[in-house]
Symmetry: none
Subunit: 148 residues, 2 copies
DNA sequence: TTCCGGGTGGGGAAAAGTGGGGAGGCTCGT
DNA sequence: ACGAGCCTCCCCACTTTTCCCCACCCGGAA
């Protein structure tokens, strides 16, 4: 179960070092094979390969003629890229994905249960601002009874 | 059942010493394993690990595409960090969480039943001001019959 | 006043992050 | 077709940070 945010640096070759606390889990689940793709919220998704496959298949089943489904397919499947961790626990982020999510040197890796999100520093801060700005009406539909 | 507020100090390494009166309970429940995460009201949440899991799972079930649900997932799960008490009963508060809740040296640990909240001194005072400022209409919907 | 428990700070060892260098493979030019 | 140059991927080593443990100090109670 992946959780927690870490500030990481993209090195000159476009690699990010996965925090050590997550490496063991990733090696076990998928021998370090990961799938990176684009998320509509302008961040990247990082899935262990086995967790990605059912998601990909579900997206691919959607109609190619329904405009929103087509967009989703192009984004999620079109950008998907399989990468492996190197011996130092790093993964390469391809230039096209880096450009899509506007990643600079400083990035944030955010655990989301089954997968991670990778944010640019600016994008991640903006996301927090949004949350703090909501104020009341914080709970989404269907979760009105949720309490901490 | 945790209750009561304590003023604590963050040391130079970002550690807080849990008050001795709560240590035994935390050791019993979860061997001192705690989960720290961010709260939308700009404070931190501290859960004993077993109490956190059902909350996390409930949040993760929400849709990633409903905007508020996505924000909530990123905040609650994205910031969650598992930490253990050291031999002196202290827990480390990671830099990203400290920054989120704007914690300085003086902080407040506030018992909230199943969990704690950790506030910056300024945030905690502001919270009290808010309550005093409300005046009439003090009771929220659904609690109109509540009386002390 | 002395003992005990809780709070605080500091130091050292081990592991993790970062950057550089070298070898292998592919491509292009001759 | 063969050789040279470049690009890419992989591995190794250094630097930095993090984590853990120990020692001291302060306050309270007996």
């Amino acid at each position: 179960m992946f959780q927690g945010a870490s500030q990481l640096t993209l090195d000159a070759k476009g690699r990010v070092a996965i925090p050590a606390k997550h490496r063991e889990a990733l090696s076990t689940v998928s021998s370090g094979r990961l799938v990176l793709t684009a998320h509509p919220h302008r961040c990247l998704l990082i899935y262990p390969e086995p967790a990605w496959e059912p998601k990909r298949d579900e997206v691919l089943r959607a109609s190619s003629f329904e405009p929103r489904a087509a967009l989703l397919k192009r984004l999620l499947v079109g950008f998907a890229q399989e990468e492996s961790m190197d011996a130092a626990g790093r993964v390469l982020v391809s230039p096209s994905l880096r450009q899509f999510a506007q990643l600079e040197k400083q990035v944030w890796l955010v655990g989301q249960g089954s997968h991670f999100e990778l944010w640019s520093e600016a994008g991640w801060l903006a996301e927090q601002e949004k949350m703090l700005a909501i104020g009341a009406d914080l709970l989404p539909p269907g979760m009105e009874s949720f309490s901490l």
